[in-house]
């Protein structure tokens, strides 16, 4: 009896610990020394339908290209303050309409514009075309970019990360300027947590998958 109780307690502790520490990957990727002080910093990420590894291989997530050129599973990035960030998002995922079309509008970037495969984008109607795969949104900075999806009918969709450029993808580029030092959370506003209530559980509610921090340092 005592043994069963101990096993039950162990299972509960394991479950709670697993919930509280759901395998945060990566750590912080540091871009502060990537360029001479005051020069723009290039930040490249890719997003896809399944990370393929770790405790949640089927979850959607991001990889970031480190200054050393390696793809790293991390959503916490250290950036220099008051610096222009030239960001490139390689979007391999299919899409859906936005729950709130407000996030279909590009805001907070330099010029309030982005480009998708070289074409200017100021807003995207997520209820038409391929929909939006994800958004890159930093609420505290008013920064929002809809990441236009690849067609869900595509026969060349990347299954698991890291995705090679031979797979169908959209390349979204934009620039923004970091503010003063501080931690600024970013997240996706597409309910992309497959299989979870309203799509906002799982990767949407776990640090290190569809959200993270811009750690801006002086």
């Amino acid at each position: 009896m005592l043994g069963l109780f101990a096993v039950a307690v162990g299972l509960v502790i394991t479950a709670v610990a697993g919930f509280l520490t759901p395998g945060v990957p990566g750590g912080i990727v540091n871009f502060t020394g990537a360029q001479p002080s005051g020069q723009p910093v290039n930040l490249t990420v890719q997003t896809f339908g399944a990370i393929g590894t770790g405790p949640h291989p089927t979850w959607v997530s991001y990889l970031v290209k480190s200054p050393q050129g390696q793809w790293v599973h991390s959503t916490d990035w250290e950036l220099p303050a008051n610096t222009v960030i030239n960001m490139t998002v390689i979007q391999y995922d299919s899409g859906s309409p936005l729950r709130n079309q407000q996030w279909g509008q590009v805001t907070g970037t330099i010029g309030n514009t982005a480009s998708v495969n070289g074409k200017a984008l100021s807003q995207y109607d997520s209820n038409s075309g391929n929909g939006v795969g994800h958004t890159f949104t930093v609420p505290a900075l008013g920064l929002d970019i809809p990441l236009v999806a690849v067609p869900s009918t595509s026969k060349n969709i990347c299954g698991t990360a890291p995705c090679a450029s031979s797979f169908d993808h959209n390349t979204i580029t934009f620039s923004f300027k970091t503010p003063g030092a501080g931690n600024y959370s970013w997240q996706c506003f597409v309910p992309c947590g497959l299989g979870y209530l309203f799509g906002n559980g799982g990767p949407m509610s776990t640090q290190g998958y569809m959200g993270g921090f811009l750690k801006v340092v002086a």
């Binding site: 859906s96 509008q105 109607d125 949104t137 309203f198 799509g199 906002n200 959200g211």
Partner: protein, 327 residues
Amino acid sequence: MSPQNSKSEVGHLRRIAVVWVVVSVVADLLFWFLVGPHVPPGRMTETAINNQRTFNILFVIALPVLIGVWVYLGYAATVWSAKRDGAPESVGGEAARTNQKAQVWWMSVTSVIVILLAVYGFYAVVVEHGSGGGEGPNPVWSPEGAIQAETAALGGGSSWTPGHVLVVQVIGQQWKFTYRYPGFGGFESDQLILPNHTTIAFNVTSLDVIHSFWAYQLSVKADANPQVNNVAYTETKQLGSFVVRCSELCGLWHGSMFNDGRIVSQSDFTNWATSTQTANAANTAHLPPFAWTYVPDANGASGGFYPDGTFTPYSPSEIYGAKSPAS
């Protein structure tokens, strides 16, 4: 009780009463004039002013009670403390427990205070319309012109001009509040800008889980529930910035669900709203028609209902995002 003891007791009470009255009056005046104007939530709206006044009145009533206890305690400890030489207590024991006069005074004073608080409470609810919380989908009261403004907003024919009620829709979503302005074509913004000296009709709803819209300097707090329109009224009184926070634990980024807002002059507000209406026009065209609530439909990866570009109106609700499965 001997006449000498009775005379002595009256002397004690008189001294305590004098000290209590003097200290209480000084403390109340100092609080009312020096501290009171700075007590949260401040004076940015009529609701905030009412709440600040209510707090200050309660404090001014409570302060003499607190001081009365302290003065009595201090006096008793100083004058009536037991002597080390074994002298009997001058007051206490059976005489204190059966002091009817003291009991009657104590019960009368506390009863009067409680009754006064109840009367003031009714006044605050009836005349000041409560504390600025959400009034629910069918408010029992509304400021002059609010119903007309809200009806016009729902019908799509709303156009705000200074001096009229401004309808602002607050939309909660994991994890950001956004704001729709039906008086300016129904554009949506992540900024909450309000004109000064204007009655605001907040209509609060959610697209997913329960959030709570809390602009504490405005003294407005209303739950944002999916498929519920929670109405809260206030009137802006002072220029300045305020903070909006979500006060309902709503998931991973709940702690990041806040934004600044501003009360600006009516002309500045009109300029901001018209320029934002123009700048957002292309995106506003893709928003659903203005409605009190929006169906947080199963969509995206969780539901797989891909849009066909047709919105099916759910009067007075409308669908944000994908088409309803039932349509």
